[in-house]
């Protein structure tokens, strides 16, 4: 195990961008203004599914102040985050597939003029049947939303996986429980609406500033849709006001801003309204899940079967990837030897579902943790016992071939049970009050790029000189999670310098070397490894010079507190870091080194086998304590405990922030969040008044705990902490509700009406 005494890593340094944000001086895309910049607005379809017969923009173009109007025909190149399956257009092309889809866009000298111009655009539609429910969309005679899709009816993709002898294992099980679960249609509700500013210069080069999680994929997509070489496109990410996956694929405002800027010959800003954020969506897939688990007499899991129908909305997006994640997520954090997966993603005429914090995991986790809870209770066992018994060990290989190199999941369960007093409370609290336990895990990165490629997933360059100091260049993107801080802390630790001396240049496809983006909780491990390697190579160079100066072997040198010293004679043989840098540059020229991260390419011989592999995994266990008001049906999460294995926490305060943010977000989904859709496909609550997210008033008392953990193969022992912690929240709360009132909810959100109805039913059943 590597040495664990750190100077910077493991401390709660404050982020460099925090004072800028607290003063209102940090720039987000909508804060950028360029000379002669135009403002854009989007004309959106008022039908849910239709063929476009005619668009007339002539009146809008004639309006004084309007500088450009674009329609779908001007960019008829489909794109998608999964490049093999492009389904989407910058603006609706020939067909409209959801109510509110962009059909035209205007750039004008001010927002009012752009707005006015929208009313002058005439669109004629030939309406088609609107499907808002996957069941209707899957009917054999349903009109195809995507004609070119190779699957029957409106199935966007379907797959099966089978491991072991599932039927036999069920037949031999002592107890089998099966239930159907339904998850809801929820939106990320990040605070900053999508915004992009695009500008073409005289040489025809495009610069775009956008609050994206994936500058690289935006870069590729702009190149494809605008038909221009990537070398002529510069993507710059200003501060991002939250993403949670919602900004993890190209948003059409980015493409539209670029198209308008090219046409108008002036910079264009396109910022979405809150309603448009709901239309751009990419929120969590509602899934109807039928799950069956068989256990032996002692509660050991024998077999698991999953059947899931995902409501995908109008376009492909991350869909197929998420489908396979729901499959992968069944294999951990418990040992399951026999697994059958059947899943399908279905197109419907609704805003597209996509990646949302903990994608692919949250829905099956809800089903699995609820079922295990019930099985334990039915067998007269504690849910703690069944979860602990089945939990994976420190290393584990699943039947699907996924290898976990490091897990402290068992420690997480023990710790959270101890901290919460779960065993003393479960089934022992008065009616109306209850506790629920659930566990979970998540990947810390992926094994593959979304397109065929063998290049490193992350690269970093570190430049050290006596003028600018230390600069870390890495294409990773700080979306508010604090990755610039994490990378800066790692560099500081490596180079033995204070954190505030490290500059990080990130989120820029021109200035910073390649990185895939901020998704799949990959940045700490992937970009962190690249930065650490670059720093090691810088040190190697400096040490070679310092060794000559100090008269010792370079291998015997170490660095800390701004000094290079011999580990054997630290008092005798030492010199200043910056002095050594100067000598190196005098003798050799620029002091620059790069590092990279390329994950192992594990896979298997079945469909979707590339998905689910990750360099390493984070784990978490949680206990919720709820109070149910049996008069009003209102549920209050009073207390919440978490114990997490994120490896070595690089910054414990930030880990805590990620965990608390996840818990509160999960609580919103469990109890009140749901986008509602009318029969014609119109959204009924696309605003933050009717789409209720948790406020400070809803906050439970949260106690988080970072378990003692260190992944020796990770940079400074670190693993993810941003997506694992949302996995168990829904089942922890719903298990607690069961403990409180004896009602097993299998559908979210658990609203007061549903609680009252269930209590009523329970009463009449009893009498």
């Amino acid at each position: 195990m590597a040495e664990k005494t750190f100077r910077v890593v493991g401390t709660s340094v404050t982020r460099k961008d925090a004072p800028l944000k607290a003063r209102g001086e940090a720039l987000y895309a909508d804060d950028i203004r360029l000379p002669l910049m135009l403002h854009a607005r989007v004309k959106r379809a008022d039908v849910g599914h239709a063929r476009i017969l005619r668009i007339d923009t002539s009146k809008a173009e004639a309006l004084p102040g309007v500088k450009a109007v674009v329609v779908g025909e001007e960019a008829p190149i489909p794109y998608g985050i999964v490049p093999q399956m492009p389904t989407e257009y910058a603006l609706a092309y020939k067909k409209v597939r959801y109510h509110g889809e962009p059909v035209a866009a205007v750039a004008a000298v001010d927002p009012d003029t752009a707005e006015k111009a929208l009313d002058l655009i005439e669109v004629e539609y030939e309406p088609l049947p609107v499907y808002t429910d996957p069941k209707e969309a899957m009917a054999p005679d349903a009109v195809k939303i995507h004609e070119e899709s190779p699957f029957p009816a409106n199935i966007a993709y379907q797959a099966e996986q089978e491991f072991g002898d599932v039927d036999r294992a069920f037949a031999e099980s002592h107890y089998v429980l099966e239930k159907t679960f339904r998850t809801s249609y929820v939106n990320h509700a990040f605070l900053e609406p999508h915004s992009a500013v695009a500008k073409f210069d005289t040489n025809g080069e495009l610069t775009i500033w956008s609050g994206t999680q994936v500058p690289h994929y935006l870069h590729r997509t702009l190149s494809k849709v605008l038909e221009m070489p990537m070398q002529k496109i510069h993507v710059k990410v200003p501060k991002v006001g939250g993403g949670f996956g919602g900004k993890g694929e190209v948003s059409n405002n980015e493409l539209i801003a670029a198209l308008l800027a090219r046409k108008a010959g002036r910079p264009v800003k396109l910022t979405y309204s809150r309603k448009e954020v709901f239309l751009q969506h990419r929120g969590r897939h509602p899934i109807e899940i039928r799950m069956k688990i068989g256990v032996d007499r002692d509660g050991y899991i024998q077999a698991l079967e999953y059947d899931g129908t995902m409501d995908g909305g109008a376009y492909g997006g991350w869909g197929v990837v998420i489908l396979f994640y729901t499959a992968a997520m069944l294999h951990l954090p418990y040992k399951v030897k026999n697994v059958r997966f059947r899943g399908r993603r279905v197109y419907t005429n609704k805003p597209t579902c996509g990646a949302m914090r903990g994608l692919g995991g949250v829905q099956p986790r809800f089903a699995m943790e609820s079922l295990l809870d019930q099985i334990a209770i039915d067998l007269g066992m504690s849910p703690y016992e069944i979860k602990k018994k089945n939990a994976i060990d420190q290393t584990h290989e699943t039947v699907s071939g996924v290898y976990v190199r490091h897990s402290e999941y068992k420690q997480c369960i023990d710790k959270v049970v101890e901290n919460s007093g779960y065993l003393e409370k479960h089934r022992k609290l008065p009616f109306g009050r209850g506790v629920g336990l659930a566990g979970g895990y998540y990947i810390s990165g992926t094994a593959y790029t979304l397109y065929m490629s063998y290049k490193p997933h992350s690269t970093a360059t570190v430049r050290v000189d006596t003028e600018a100091g230390v600069t870390v260049y890495c294409g990773a993107t700080d979306i508010g999670q604090g990755s610039d801080m994490v990378l800066g802390m790692m560099a500081a630790e490596k180079l033995g310098l204070p954190f505030d001396q490290i500059h990080v240049v990130s989120g820029d496809t021109t200035l910073a070397p390649f990185d895939l983006g901020s998704f799949a909780s990959r940045v700490t491990v992937a970009a962190g490894t690249a930065v650490c390697q670059a720093c090691d190579r810088v040190l190697e160079k400096i040490f070679s010079v310092a060794a000559v100066q100090l008269g010792c072997r370079a291998q015997q040198l170490a660095v800390a507190d701004g000094e290079i010293y011999s580990v054997f004679e630290p008092h005798k043989k030492r010199m200043g870091f910056w002095e050594a840098v100067e000598r190196y540059i005098d003798a050799n020229g620029p002091l620059v080194a790069s590092g990279e991260f390329t994950p192992p390419r594990r896979t298997g011989k079945f469909k979707g086998a590339n998905i689910g592999h990750s360099p390493t995994y984070g784990f978490t266990a949680q206990v919720a304590e709820v109070e149910v008001d049996t008069e009003t049906g209102e549920i209050r999460v009073v207390n919440y405990w978490e114990a997490g294995d994120c490896g070595q926490a690089i910054n414990p305060q930030s880990v805590e922030g990620q965990v608390e943010g996840s818990i509160v977000m999960g609580m919103g989904q469990a109890l009140f969040e749901q986008v509602r859709v009318a029969e014609d496909g119109r959204l009924l609550n696309p605003n933050l008044h009717d789409y209720k997210v948790p406020t400070a008033a809803d906050l439970p008392q949260i106690r988080t705990h970072i378990v003692d953990s260190y992944d020796p193969d990770s940079p400074f022992g670190a693993k993810e902490s941003g997506e694992g912690p949302i996995q168990p929240v829904i089942p922890a709360i719903l298990n607690a509700i069961y403990d409180a009132i004896g009602v097993r909810f299998t559908e979210m959100p658990v609203t007061p009406e549903k609680v009252l109805e269930a209590l009523e039913r329970r009463k009449s059943e009893r009498s």
Binding site: A18, A22, L191, T271, I479, E656, G657, A696, I702
Partner: protein, 158 residues
């Protein structure tokens, strides 16, 4: 377009702006005065990202008619720091307690906290939660924000 001239004080300085009747204060601050610290998260009074102080009271600038700011004293997040640029204790507490992640809610949160602490120097946790209930934050889960407000309250009343 018809314009009305309004005169008011922003962060202690006089401002004169010709506004259209339908403009809100947020538009005037962000677009006309280049005070982009106040953010637009919803434009409908639902998120609090646009919170500023008008005559010491926290308001949603996205709903506040610009013409009504005539004669008022407005404080935005840019006006909180001291003369040498040092952060206001509330801002400092937010930074130190980890209450700033993406930061999009931060200016509004800080100003709602300021309005509260000006009114109630040592609020209870319940009072803080209630005062901040109109300011959404999707990143932090609020715990570190509440801690920051508590820390700032203590420092300010020392």
């Amino acid at each position: 377009m018809e314009r009305i001239t309004i005169r008011f004080k922003v962060n202690g300085e006089d401002a004169t702006v010709a506004v259209a009747p339908h403009w809100n204060l947020l538009r005037v601050l962000r677009e006309e005065l280049e005070l982009t610290g106040a953010k637009e998260g919803c434009g409908a009074g639902e998120c609090g990202a646009c919170t500023v102080l008008v005559n010491g009271r926290a308001v949603n600038a996205c709903l506040y008619p610009a013409v009504e700011a005539d004669g008022a004293e407005v404080t935005t997040v840019e006006g909180l720091a001291g003369p040498g640029g040092e952060l206001h204790p509330i801002q400092r507490a937010f930074v130190e307690k980890g209450a700033v992640q993406c930061g999009f809610c931060t200016p509004g949160m800080v100003l709602s906290a300021k309005a509260l602490l000006d009114r109630v120097p040592l609020p209870s946790e319940e009072e803080i939660r209630t005062a901040l209930a109109g300011n959404l934050c999707r990143c932090t889960g609020y715990a570190q924000i509440i801690e920051a407000v508590q820390a700032a309250a203590e420092e300010l009343s020392r």
